[in-house]
Symmetry: C2
Subunit: 476 residues, 2 copies
Amino acid sequence: MKSLYQKSMSLTVLATSLLCVGAGAAPNDPATLGQIRDSAMKSDWAYERLADLTDLVGPRLSGSVGAAAAVEQVAAAMRKIGATVTLQPVKVPHWVRGAESAELVEYTGRPAGITQKVVLTALGGSGATPAAGLTAPVVIVRSFDELKAKAAQVKGSIVLFDVAFDQEMADRGHAGPAYGHGAGFRFAGPKVAADMGAAAALVRSVGGANYRIAHTGATGVVAENRIPAAAVTAEDAMLMSRLSARGLLKMHLTLTPQTLPDADSYNVIADLPGTDKADEVVIVSGHLDSWDLATGAHDDGTGVAGAMAVIDTLKKLNLKPRRTIRVIAWMNEENGTRGGKAYFDANQDKLDKHFAAIESDSGGGRPFGFIGSVTPPMVKYFAPLKTALEPIGAGIFERHDIAGAADTGPLERAGVPVFEPLVDSSFYFNYHHTPADTLDKVNPLELKRHVAVMTSLTWYLANMDENIGRVPPEQE
Amino acid sequence: MKSLYQKSMSLTVLATSLLCVGAGAAPNDPATLGQIRDSAMKSDWAYERLADLTDLVGPRLSGSVGAAAAVEQVAAAMRKIGATVTLQPVKVPHWVRGAESAELVEYTGRPAGITQKVVLTALGGSGATPAAGLTAPVVIVRSFDELKAKAAQVKGSIVLFDVAFDQEMADRGHAGPAYGHGAGFRFAGPKVAADMGAAAALVRSVGGANYRIAHTGATGVVAENRIPAAAVTAEDAMLMSRLSARGLLKMHLTLTPQTLPDADSYNVIADLPGTDKADEVVIVSGHLDSWDLATGAHDDGTGVAGAMAVIDTLKKLNLKPRRTIRVIAWMNEENGTRGGKAYFDANQDKLDKHFAAIESDSGGGRPFGFIGSVTPPMVKYFAPLKTALEPIGAGIFERHDIAGAADTGPLERAGVPVFEPLVDSSFYFNYHHTPADTLDKVNPLELKRHVAVMTSLTWYLANMDENIGRVPPEQE
Ligand SMILES: [Zn+2]
Ligand SMILES: [Zn+2]
């Protein structure tokens, strides 16, 4: 295998250099890769797009005016730099936050007239209390086993899943799994509690940095029993646990979100057409929707701006890729991933023409390289790319069986190799899905590194001679 | 001076050991001081009081139901351990937060239908907008000079003082001055803006740790022109500055606090009577009121609980001080310092009997020792106390001309030496006056150290032979 691939590579490097338009050298040669990296490191274009998106549009939850404005803004910016823009229609869930407040109205030791405020925020897709709220005892659990054991109490109560976010795990470089553990309770917990007859369900916010801010996110309650569900801050979860340990605890809870009919929205698709392999596609993407509490600067403004800047960087260098580079700003990653599904459905007959897909959705922390779901023998073909990214400290290629980004999930499950920047996410879940995910949290220098990684990786994939192939089904 | 004092000390140490009730040794001997320190380090009593205060009562702004419940709770706890409790009436300002919201409704580049939310919180003592809010252009300034230069624009506008908190200064150990700088704008800015005809005034939150939480605090607008005033989060101040740099910026602002007639409240005073010098008093204190956004765990729950625990610690050891130890939980430090003034007014004829006063109001961070406003020659008489606190890393005595705590300010200005624990306040202003100042932020071990310092210092002062005297007026 090895010698065969090496031979094939050196032959096509020669062939490609003859075909190559613009650069005058083999597209993936060190000089071109270095030029891309250095150009990205000098440009403010991505940060300017991120500022436009977060400062001018702001929050952009699926179905909102902000989401529609974001679609227009990104499409206009990509048209302006000469990309071929298509808006792909996507029907999205349309959930709208309402009033949200909660007070602990009864507890052992409570002085007359006192109630304690609980800071919370409704979870996407959750149901509403009556407009005047509901009052019920609080049952606190730390596992699904404990929930089952307390079934008799759960009926008619407000259940709190008091599961702390594992910041130490995040600090050790496993922010994703730490988040996944908590997010499991957030997504599945309210549905399970609803099935057991709970009046409402609360989860402890999934994320670090306790400054009494609630972390929202999607929950899995279904239309047939859409109970109210919210994330309380870590502080308030701890308060409730302490008060519950003193005796009875009752809460008055008001949450009035609305679930409206599905709305019309779009994936923004911007192509930089390829040359001799124009029918093949390399996707580079982030998701355009954000939660409604903040301006979604890290989640996923940096992903979208980073993907947009791939075409800008290449255009400025007058570099033309062999394969078509397709920037996608996905709609509805946060509460439905309808954009990813719509794209997959529309491209079922062209899956073999999807050479690879990149999605950036772990925030704009310092990039150390990239991950990708290729088979082990493919790893060696990325050596020149790693070398090119070494000077900015981003030369690591970590192979994964599954990369796991949400919007590119259907493509990946169908065998398309998926790549993501490998970034420091240790602080990402401090801001993620909170009101604090704002532009000031994004370090402009890291965003430049991010663009350098995204552009270099996209370019490299778009010009590779090797067929990095499908991920074998047994690895799915 | 030196030899005279030393002689007088050794003579009275002898005399005192004969008088001393309970301990069987000179009250300030190393064994007794060590016993106090070690006992404090083993006790959860202060933490339990802090939990009662924050979990059961919660926020306790002057005039609120919480403040009244806090008075009752602290008085009951002190009676329970055998202290002589007096409630000293204090008329306090009664300001009540109302609705608060703000949106940026016009700015260059704004997509149709979009407004950007600004997170803010009204400042104590500020006025109200109409119930439906007001809309006005925003004028951003970074100094009073800039405000004056923009006088023509200020009239009818919303002024934002966008002055960032100097976290580096706080990290270098100068949290107080860093806070003081910002708090100056918060207190004086809105009044100056009001005098210039501003429709409302905003300040950038004074404090660190940007998680989109607003830091409230008192402002100095006066009844004659009580304009609306609020603190915006650091993030929102930055957003407004960026948008303002793009062109016009208009805000719709709704703030509906009420300034009610002064309310009846109390300083809680709990005495542990002295023995042979019972007519002399050593005050140890914290302030009982807190802002309304959180449960005031650090500000100033730790100060109050720490002061309360002085009597508990001594009672448990059956130690009787020569001078009367007076625990005071002051009312209304945050927006009027009426408690401190009321105490001073009521004790004008007994000032010479106030040997010293301790106030703890810099949060429950790690204590390194204590500060005190004695004259330089007095410093040496604290050597045994420093030695006793060395084993818990709290052996530093930093002499100041003015200690500067708020409630003991009138006493200090009249010449009473004032002491405070010397603590790590680098993180204090992350939580101070925000919704995040909650019990979980207090490290129980640091609170034990805090009690050890407070009790040792109080005991030491209550039994000193030396007259540490008045602070000379020229040092005021
Ligand atoms: Zn995301
Ligand atoms: Zn305070």
